[in-house]
């Protein structure tokens, strides 16, 4: 019963929140600036129905410090999807704020059609952290070019942490054609115990098809 009561109160509250603002997008944008996080959260959810207001949601994300409102904005952006969302979220991969970085990664992984054309650029970004995030996206982004992208990183990248994550991805999607490349990486990073461990793990998984 407790759960039912709680849900009812939330719905009633949301209705009250909605009444104080007009229910058109302009009213929702005003509500997105309300001091009450609960009202901002409802506005963020409702604006998910209006793709033309994507940039307003992203702008709000930059200034929002409530984690639940941020999550509501990310959920709405994922629901809207498309190229504009992907493009506007890419700068968040460079954010100092871990929740913004991870939120952007999660939305981008839910938008394979919009994110895939941007992967090559991300995987060759001068910042190793961005290349790592790109590999994080590949973990859940289903794309036929993933093995090629991972092989490219293994063959050319010289940053130990990028290689560490790329070896992890090779374990996820690796094919027998990647074995020789992984052995070469093992020789290049012979002094890195973690890389050696990750390569052994990847080779075992490729051999067993796990």
């Amino acid at each position: 019963m407790g759960f039912v009561k709680s849900d009812t109160q939330e719905v009633v509250g949301s209705t009250e929140h909605r009444r104080e603002y007009s229910r058109d997008p302009e009213g929702m944008l005003q509500q997105l600036r309300d001091p009450d996080p609960a009202r901002r959260r409802w506005a963020a959810r409702d604006l998910g129905e209006f793709p033309e207001y994507v940039s307003h949601l992203v702008d709000a994300l930059e200034n929002e410090d409530d984690e639940t409102v941020r999550q509501a904005i990310f959920d709405s952006l994922a629901r809207i999807g498309g190229d504009e969302v992907a493009e506007l979220l890419l700068p968040f991969l460079r954010s100092e704020d871990a929740q913004l970085r991870n939120g952007a990664v999660e939305v981008l992984t839910e938008l394979p059609d919009a994110t895939a054309p941007r992967m090559e650029k991300l995987l060759h970004d001068p910042d190793p952290d961005i290349r790592i995030f790109a590999l994080d996206i590949l973990r859940v982004l289903p794309h036929p070019k993933s093995p090629d992208w991972i092989a490219q990183i293994l063959a050319t990248d010289d940053h130990v942490n990028v290689i560490a994550v790329a070896v992890d991805r090779a374990a996820d999607v690796g094919t027998p054609a990647m074995v020789e490349l992984l052995e070469e990486v093992g020789q290049r990073f012979a002094d890195e115990p973690y890389i050696q461990f990750a390569i052994r793990t990847a080779l075992e998984r490729i051999a067993t098809g796990a």
Binding site: E67, Q99, R101, V105, I132, F133, V165, P193, F197
Partner: protein, 124 residues
């Protein structure tokens, strides 16, 4: 011997840390994000947390802030471990409640030594 919860979204990293820490005689459990870790540590408190930063659902900073808010688990020491080596990252980790910070990938002897210090098995 300490009971250590390794929190990282990468399965290979968790396995590596488990191997290194078990070689040093520790008992290791795993969680793949902050949310799962919080549930586990509230149910079964450990002696040390080894926490990654970037994870889905709940990142390492937020996880540590939640741990430090809860009286029953707030005293558990935490090592934050991440690929990010900037001073600003370490500062954020300390603000979130980390006792110390280690940059990945960690050499086995470095990780074992740091864990021994964090759990009070040895002193500096």
């Amino acid at each position: 011997m300490a009971r250590i919860l390794v929190v990282d979204d990468a399965a290979t990293v968790r396995s590596y840390h488990r191997m290194v820490l078990e070689q040093a005689g520790h008992e290791v459990s795993e969680a793949e994000n902050g949310l799962e870790a919080l549930e586990k540590v509230l149910r079964d408190p450990v002696d040390l947390l080894l926490v990654d930063i970037n994870m889905p659902k709940m990142d390492g900073y937020r996880f540590l802030r939640e741990v430090r808010r809860d009286e029953t688990i707030r005293a558990i020491p935490a090592v934050m471990i991440s690929t990010e080596a900037e001073d600003s990252d370490k500062e954020l980790a300390w603000h979130a409640g980390a006792n110390t910070y280690l940059v990945k990938p960690a050499k086995p002897e470095v990780l074992q030594r740091l864990v021994a210090l964090a759990t009070g098995e040895v002193t500096a």
